[in-house]
Structure formats: C-alpha cells, structure tokens
Symmetry: C2
Subunit: 428 residues, 2 copies
C-alpha cells in the first residue's frame, strides 16, 4: 500500500452528509475584497456598502414634454377658460434655465429638463395651446405636478447598496448613475483541479485499451464556472507520489484544491499522504452517501492555503460530491447569502429501493402534473453512468435509514436545472 | 417636431403587452449555429445532436480494487471454505492484461482496470487473502459481479445529447469522455446598445446642472450578459438625426439594436425617423403598460439585419421593457426552450390601486410566510426610481382592467431574483 493508510494519522470517517457538510462549512472562510471596474462586477457580492455621493435625480426636472409654470398662475384654468402665460424661454435638454421663471411666465421644457427656479409644476404639451410668444394653459396643475423631485430616487449620503448584496443589472445602473466606476466586491475563489490516474488521458488523445478520458476536470471546471469561481486545471498526475506532489504544489495558491480520484484506500491512492506531507491533514474521509462515499476533506495548517477536497474518481461521484460540498463552500467564500439549491417536494413516479445505511442522491427527471411535480430516476444510477446526471432536473434525497420510497410518496428534491422553473408562456 | 410623427408611416399603437410580445416573438429568428471549443460552450444550446463515436466505458472494467476471476472457479467458496486460485498477473491501471485469464487463475485489478479476457467477475480485495503466488477467495461471486460493463453508460452510435439541450457541466464531461473537443451550438445574439439624449454623459464625467449619467446602457448591457447575449455599446448619440444615424449604422451588424430614449413623440425623438430611413419600419409603438408605454419595435426589411427596439429613457422603463420583450427574444434567438421567468402566485401584503387601462408591472419584495409568499411593492414606483428595481425580488402583474388588488388577494409574480428560491439550509 503506497504511502499507505497505515502510516497516516487517524481521521474521522463514516460521517453523515450533514455532518460532513458542517465540517466543510466551518472550515470555509469568506474571502476578502478586491476593487473591480463596475462593469466587470456583474454577479459579484458587495464587500462594502455603496453610499450615494450625489442625489438622484440631481435636480427637480420635468416628467413630461411640456411647459414649466407657477401653479398659482394657473389656478382655476380649464379648457374652456385657459390661462394665458408669456412664453419666456426654453430649457434645453442637458442645459439649464437661463434665468428664474417670473410671475405670469411659462418655459418650454422637454422630459428630463431641469425645472427653472420659480417654476413649481409642468403642464403637458397636450394641455397647452402654443402661440407666438405665449401659451394658453387649459388645466390647473397642482404644485409639483409632472415634476420629478430632486433626490426622489436617492438622497446624497444615503446607503443605496448594502454589503452582501449581489450586483445585478439594476445595481450596475445605480453605480453608473452615481458616477461610481469601481466597486469593492468579495474575491471569487480560484479552484485548482487535479486529475489522478495512470489510465487517464486528455480528450484529444487516443483511448487505447485501458485508457479513459479525464472528463472530471471538465465537468468540475464547469461546475466552478457556474457559481462564478475560477477553475485552474493542473492536468493529470500519474500514480506516483512525486508526480502528485508536483501537481498539488502548483495549486497551493488557489483557495480550493480539488483532486479527483486518488484519495481512496487503494494501492495507488497517494493523494492523502502527499497532502499530509504538505501540511494538510484530513478532517474526514468517507461520507455515508451514494454516490460519493470516498470523499476526503482537509485544511492546511498554515494560513492562506487552500481547502483540499479529495473527490472520488467516478464521473457521477465527482460531480455529486462537488454539488453537495464544494459548491456551498464556494458560495460562502464569495460572500453569497444562500449556499444551497432551491428545493421542492416531489411525488415519486416510481418506487425506489435501497439498503439502509447510506443516504442516496438519486438523479431524477421532473414533470409537472397539475400543482404537483413528479420525480422519476434517470435510469441506471451507477456512479460511472454520466447520463444519469445529464438527464437530471434534480437530485432526490433518499434518506440514509429508509429502504423504500413508495410510488406516490413525497420526497425532497434539490433542483439542479433552473430551466425547469422557467415558464413556457409569458403569463401576461 | 424634428423628423416628426407627421411624416412617418402609420403604425400599430396601444397594443396590450401580450399582443406586443407576440409581434416581437413572431419576428424573432432562432440564430444559426457556430462551432466552438467545448470548454467555451458552457450555457450554450446544442444546434446538432451529439452521437457517440465510442462506447463508454470503453471496455469491461473493474468496479473495485480486487481480483479478476472466473465466477465458475469460485462456486461454493466461503470465508470458511475459501477457494485457492493461482495469482497469474496484474492488470495495470491504464494498461491491458498481458494475456487471457485461464481456469483456476486470478489477476490483480485496480478500480477501472480492464477485465482480462476469460475473467467474468471481480472479488473485492477485502474478501481475498493474498499469499505468494496465490490468493484464497472467501466468496462466490455471481457472474459480472463488481464488473462495469463496456457500453453501460453509452453505446457507440447512440445519440447522447439532443438538439436544443443546454450544455451544462455533465454535458461537458460527456463531450470530453467522447473525445469531442468542438461542438456546434446556436450563436449567441449580439446586442448593439445606443443611448440618446443631449443631457447624457458617461459615468466618469462631471454632472453639471441638467446633465445625468447614461446609466441605461450599463443596466441593459448587464441584462444582456445575464442571458448569455453579447452587448456592444455604441455610446451616446446627441439629439440630431445625423448623429443618431451614424450610431445606429454602427450597430447594423448585430442581431438586436437597442436604443434607449428617442423613440417617443417628443420634439427630439429622431430615432424612429432614422430607423425608417435605414429600412426599418416600426411594427408597433406604444404598449398599454406602466412603466414602459413608449416602447417601439421594428424589423429591417432586408435579411441579416437586426431587430430594433426603441426603449423608453427612464431607467425603470428601460429595464422593464427589456425584461418583458427583449429578454424572451434573446432566449429564443439562442435556441433556448423556455423564454420566460419562473412565476409564482403571491399573496398581497398590502392593497395596490391604479387606474384601469394599462397593465402595471409592480416591483415587489417577496417574503416567505409558511407555504405562502407575500409580496409588497418596493416603495415609490416612479419610472425614474431605480431603487424600486434594485430592491425587487420579482415583478407583480397588475392586470390592465383591474383597479385594485386587495391585501390578502393573490397575484402572479415573475421571479427576477433566483437567489430568492435558493435555500438557506442544506436539507440533508
């Protein structure tokens, strides 16, 4: 047994998924901040509040194309008894009024134009008859009518965006309006990904007998990208301690180290030994779940070193352990508030059976049936059968001690495919 | 009135939102395909099926670390009556068996190693006692036990991914396993974005009196990115037909042209005239909704020219019209199956009132209360109040003819913030 289990420190094993997740999250830090160009910050999480340096709108302005007036001048006006006002000047868009509006005067304004001093209302152009040098106003506006008040959206000094808020399109519009071109956000985790195994080749190589493509690195990298983390692929390490050490060392600058295969108890599972040599003892090995039992997790003893996950080598097991443990850790690191998939209660469309002892994560297709959602397993649930994952809308949680889930019973489903929730008609 | 409404062709106006959306979607093409490196295809939609060029797994292989045997040789074996087999050879990971397994022989195999010819089962190493040159097998395996069958995941020639399927992590893992490094997907729409108005400046400029930041281009660009479209910002056009024409021409190579402001009926709304001059008559102007009434939509008469949306200039109106009309069009273009936000029925946490005639899109915050979701408006619903959008979890549809929605009544909500659905505990 290589750098075998015999030489290694004892480690907690056989944890429940919930226990293992708690160990992972307890060890997971929230990353510090970095300052980014605002337009690169879409999807990031604010690490400092955004305080308005100006009010919005910056000045009282017209909500309509029309005429700025003094409301008092138009008291009692109507279509049959219009009030005649002198057309004093025009306020250009992007400009300012040349002077204050006097009594008995009106000023032409376009939508968004600043209200002249002295004016306190805007009359829509539809309610005005314009003649040479004068206008006849056929309505009696209330004070502030058709006026957008300075500061009605934002007052100067006000906190407009909070720490922990995710930056979406409206937040970017607000940052632009405030003239903020940079913003402090939580760093996004970098995830170093290593595949281990003499049998592995990259997808562009021939698969001679006994060779298989190292596909896990591609699915894991995509899982990272989907949550906004940055994957760094370290390549394939052969089954030799020095080769694994060289690859792992290349990933020590990342926030998370993922090794796929090589942390089991087999003859060629050298990763654990190498991790311990590098100063990263395991916090657990082995979680009572299927697929994905041989999951290992460790934390380096020195600061500024990555969390280390040893994921199983089977394609479904690697993706599932990422989904259940790595994904929440990455979301926590990035400052996100919620770390877990949407859940729903589904009705079983078929009876599922297993032995008691391990929680099963059953990949299911979902189908709406009235107000209910019906779940059925995606065929062969072997941990090497990637198609069970491809076809999955969600992951059904088959509790550890249960042996049967009868057709028609309800079970909890973690929703993977957000498109399942999307609507196929607009509902207007 | 500039290139005023008087000179322009008559156009449908006052459509309901549902009618307007139908016009938009009817005019929207699904884009053709492009061939991409697989790892750049995350989130794209397949434009051709993926047919397996090889079977997966490529060969019968061991599901365990253990010993390949002929099941018949071990019939009747048990821990107390182990069967003695000659240890013939080892199959290396990534290698192949040097010869077929003979009767009375066992071969050492690690997980994933190809099964030697002649062998038909694998015994776990825990069930074997190994001695020099021989093993004592303490169980009687069934044929195929602990063997992963060649082709159990995928058979050669089988269609593994369908046209219209979105490429996620599992699909990328499958493509890698099949040795597919490029893949044909629907093109992603490019969206040319123009802001119009003499009062607009970029966020890095001083906002003197009467000037405001052109924030719509930033929020609209982010809305594009969120659905995987590629924004191309054309800058700010002053209120002059030649200036607008110059900017619009720069966007004619895109699939969608968005102009924010300038397609209303005001003195300086030149966009419509310029569009018609360029060969893009409007299909409608004006939708009975609030915010967002002054929405225009046109289609160029020549092929390979963009759809043109004239969005209102107010920040909320611009985002809302994008959300209701541009977003579904972009998803259709990209080959997506579902074009509309998830919806839910919410209970009103307050009474809402309006005049009959226009459908209102009320920005709401949502809160879970037991099995229900309670919706409350996000404060001031003015179309210039971007904070109403920032705080929104969703958009409540207040039907055109309704005048009141009482507290406690139910209403339809389009869900904007997917994080609202995410869970704050794992539920394992």
């Amino acid at each position: 047994m290589g750098i075998g289990a015999g030489k290694l420190a004892p480690v907690r094993t056989g944890l429940s998924p919930a226990e293992a997740l708690q160990v992972v999250l307890d060890a997971t830090p929230v990353l510090g901040s970095e300052t980014l160009a605002a337009e690169r910050a879409l999807g990031r999480v604010l690490a400092e509040p955004v305080v308005a340096g100006r009010q919005l709108p910056p000045a009282d302005n017209s909500a309509m194309d029309g005429y700025a007036v003094r409301a008092a001048d138009c008291a009692g006006a109507s279509a049959s008894r219009p009030r005649r006002l002198r057309l004093a000047f025009e306020v250009p868009a992007g400009g300012r009024a040349e002077r204050a509006l006097g009594a008995g005067e009106a000023a032409r304004v376009l939508t968004g134009a600043p209200l002249p001093d002295g004016a306190d209302a805007v009359v829509r152009q539809e309610d005005v008859e314009a003649g040479p040098g004068e206008v006849r106003v056929g309505v009696a506006p209330a004070p502030r009518e058709n006026v957008r008040d300075a500061g009605e959206d934002v007052r100067a000094g006000e906190t407009v965006l909070e720490v922990g808020e995710r930056i979406g399109p409206a937040q970017l519009g607000m940052l632009a309006s405030l003239g903020r071109s940079v913003v402090a956000v939580h760093q996004r985790p970098r995830v170093a990904i290593l595949s281990g195994g003499d049998e592995l080749v990259e997808p562009d190589r021939d698969v001679a007998v006994g060779r298989i493509v190292s596909s896990n690195s591609y699915s894991l990298a995509a899982q990272c990208r989907e949550v906004g983390a940055e994957p760094v692929y370290l390549g394939i390490a052969r089954d030799a301690p020095d080769e694994i050490e060289r690859h792992l060392r290349a990933g020590l600058g990342a926030e998370v180290l993922l090794s796929s295969a090589g942390v089991s108890v087999g003859d060629r599972d050298y990763v654990r030994g190498v991790l311990e040599k590098l100063g990263c003892p395991l916090l657990f090995w082995g979680v009572r779940m299927k697929p994905g039992y041989p999951l290992a997790f460790g934390r380096f003893e020195s600061a500024h070193r990555p969390l280390a996950f040893g994921l199983p080598g089977n394609p479904v097991s690697a993706m599932m352990t990422f989904e259940q443990f790595v994904r929440p850790a990455l979301l926590k690191m990035a400052g996100r508030r919620r770390w877990f998939r949407p859940r729903l209660e589904a009705v079983l469309g078929e009876t599922l059976r297993k032995q008691a002892g391990r929680l099963h994560f059953v990949r299911v297709r979902l189908e709406r049936r009235g107000a209910e959602v019906v779940a059925r397993a995606t065929g062969n649930q072997g941990s090497g059968v990637l198609r069970s994952m491809i076809r999955a809308h969600g992951i059904l949680v088959f509790p550890a001690e249960a042996e049967v889930l009868e057709e028609g019973a309800r079970a909890r489903v973690q929703l993977l495919d957000e498109e399942f929730l999307a609507s196929d008609e607009p509902g207007l």
